[in-house]
């Protein structure tokens, strides 16, 4: 019985005659404002994340000298290389210098082989994006199917099956799934090769065959999460009064699902999708090393294990940018889907 939170705008000149807050502003100005706000939130995150990334390398005390000089380095060589690379300057100066290169897409060269980090990342990103993209596709398609099914047939065996599936999968670490998939589909039933990668333009069939297992291993968790969130979100939306309103207006169940419920109930699942993207990028470390794909995740992990600081920093920055971009897209989608969300920011 609480009063509505909306201020009475009837008979309020500002609301009736003037431009309304939010809704009626020209679309262009709205988009520009959204962009500005997004930047205002994203840039600090980017700066802080990159600083953290840089700091990680700086405090590690590692130096490229050992890697560059190899088996035959002398202390003098080491000092020379350090000075050449500017590693004897204050950290903040180094960070600004590094960042100014990073924003131009220059992550420096690998300490290990002297090859430009950005070109290496570029080479490998296609591998990871294939797998992560496919995993994302699986997650969205399967997660949506399961989640929507469970929500529409609430309380049926299907709903319970989805719930059980989600609980089981949530407890399965991706590497366990990966190994199980290899054991089943490569060793016991030799259907697909267990390892390797072929670019799409070289052999699309093989490309798909090779990325399927890792993508499945990587996506399962996300499938469960999306299904679960979607089911909860949709079930919540089904309980909303506007659904009752639609029923009372004589609208059919399909129209109610697609036009009203999905739009509002998909929000949490979409947000989860946004949160899942860093995990897909991060999870690639394990799956790529198990499936022998020279992808981005493995590159990052190998770089880290070898103490190849530019590689670690470069991969982290790229991952961060990927995630920020993905989150911005999710954010924009959410806003399109649910304009009311604009109010809450």
């Amino acid at each position: 019985m609480t009063a509505t939170v909306v201020e009475s705008t009837w008979a309020n000149p500002a609301a009736v005659a003037g431009p309304a807050r939010g809704g009626a502003v020209p679309a262009v100005a709205g988009a520009a404002r959204w962009l500005l706000r997004t930047l205002a939130l994203t840039v600090p995150v980017f700066l802080f994340a990159t600083f953290l990334t840089f700091l990680l390398g700086a405090v590690s005390g590692l130096s490229p000298a050992g890697l560059l000089l190899g088996d035959a380095a002398t202390p003098a060589d080491v000092a020379r290389v350090r000075a050449e690379l500017g590693l004897d300057r204050p950290v903040l100066v180094q960070y600004v210098d590094w960042l100014s290169h990073v924003v131009r897409g220059d992550f420096g060269s690998s300490w290990l082989n002297g090859v430009s980090v950005s070109s290496q990342i570029g080479d490998r990103l296609s591998v990871s994006l294939s797998v992560a993209g496919f995993a994302l596709l699986i997650a969205v398609v399967a997660g949506t199917a399961l989640g929507v099914g469970a929500a529409v047939w609430r309380g049926t065996w299907f709903d319970r099956a989805v719930t059980v599936f989600c609980s089981v999968v949530a407890a399965l670490p991706p590497f366990v799934v990966a190994v199980a998939l290899i054991v089943v589909f490569s060793v016991l039933l030799p259907l697909v090769p267990s390892a390797g990668y072929v670019p799409f333009d070289q052999d699309p069939g093989m490309w798909l065959t090779l990325i399927t297992l890792p993508a499945v291993a990587l996506s399962l968790d996300a499938v469960a999460d999306i299904a679960r969130q979607l089911r909860t979100g949709l079930a919540g939306a089904y309980r909303e009064n506007y659904v009752l309103g639609a029923v009372v207006r004589g609208l059919g169940p399909r129209r109610i699902l697609f036009n009203h419920v999905l739009r509002n109930g998909a929000g949490p699942a979409l947000s989860v999708l946004g949160l899942r993207i860093p995990m897909l990028v991060g999870g690639a470390v394990v799956t790529e090393s198990i499936f022998g794909m020279s992808g981005f995740g493995r590159f990052a992990a190998d770089g880290a294990l070898r103490g190849d600081v530019p590689v670690v920093q470069g991969t982290l920055v790229v991952a961060i940018v990927l995630v920020l971009v993905a989150n911005t897209i999710v954010d924009a989608l959410l806003l399109r889907l649910r304009p009311a969300a604009r109010r809450r920011s």
Partner: protein, 283 residues
């Protein structure tokens, strides 16, 4: 006349930040004497709650001053404000007890919040508002709406207030219960000489409670006077519309056409930025 218990003079309040900052009250005068009950009538967005909240220091005044029992409260900050509040001179009863009582604290805990040796005093306070002290161990969700609001009143009474501010205290209650709670409020105030500032959007339901009325419209008091004057002979068109809109059981009241005319007049005034002068009707 002695200094009034509550004296609000030229009060202006602005809320919000940056571009969203708006002046809600434009210079409001209001007094409540000791033992007097004053109704503040205003609809959503009129600024009535803002006024009440500013009196207890939940908002800051942009201009003007507020004195409560001789204390200038507009300038109180931090520790001194807290000390003033702890003195219990002003107490506040909210609209919905379900929201103003912590759902996880028992009625007794809420009533005795911050009170030393609360035990017996809580029981007394509950008895004072007509509640069984045994209810002290219940959670708000476990008692009826009327009992909850009585508990909220008990929480106010336990502090020994001289001024009680009630913000729509019965609008969340069923009609039958309303009467009982209003009976209780009126009785408590008159017996203890407590000043009452009673806030409502519905003039029709306040009229019987208060000695005087002030009608708030878009941040200005547009009409004030004794309840009888205002109800019997409203002079401001807005007041007339308010009274004409109140549903009544006596078959009296305004016709649909009369209401429509008043609305047209009011909206013409506001959409011309007040060039159709309506003025203020304040004694």
């Amino acid at each position: 006349m002695a200094e009034p218990l509550l004296e609000v003079a030229g009060l202006a309040v602005a809320l919000g930040r940056g571009r969203g900052r708006r002046e809600i009250l434009h210079g409001v005068d209001l007094t409540v004497g000791a033992g007097e009950s004053v109704g503040l009538i205003g609809e959503t967005g009129s600024g009535k709650s803002t006024l009440a909240r500013t009196v207890v220091g939940l908002h800051r005044a942009a201009r003007g001053r507020i004195r409560v029992a001789g204390t200038e409260v507009t300038s109180l900050r931090g520790r001194r404000l807290r000390a003033f509040r702890r003195s219990g001179v002003v107490q506040y009863v909210f609209q919905d007890p379900l929201r103003s009582l912590d759902p996880d604290l028992t009625v007794g805990e809420s009533v005795g919040f911050g009170i030393p040796d609360a035990g017996s005093r809580v029981a007394d306070a509950l008895r004072l508002v007509g509640l069984d002290p045994a209810l002290a161990s219940r959670l708000p969700g476990e008692v009826s709406g009327g009992q909850r609001q009585r508990a909220a009143i008990a929480r106010a009474m336990i502090a020994g207030p001289r001024l009680l501010i009630c913000d729509e205290p019965v609008s969340a209650l069923d009609a039958a219960t309303r009467v009982q709670v209003l009976d209780l409020l009126v009785a408590l105030c008159s017996e203890n000489g407590i000043g009452l500032l009673y806030i409502s959007h519905d003039l029709g339901s306040v009229a019987g409670v208060t000695d005087r009325l002030a009608v708030l419209h878009h941040g200005d008091v547009v009409e004030a006077g004794t309840t009888e004057q205002v109800v019997a002979a409203p002079r401001h068109p807005y007041t007339r519309l308010l009274i004409g809109s109140a549903p009544t059981v006596d078959g009296g009241g305004m016709s649909r056409t009369e209401r429509a005319e008043l609305r047209a007049l009011l909206s013409a005034s506001s959409s011309t930025g007040g060039s159709v002068p309506l003025g203020k009707v304040v004694p």
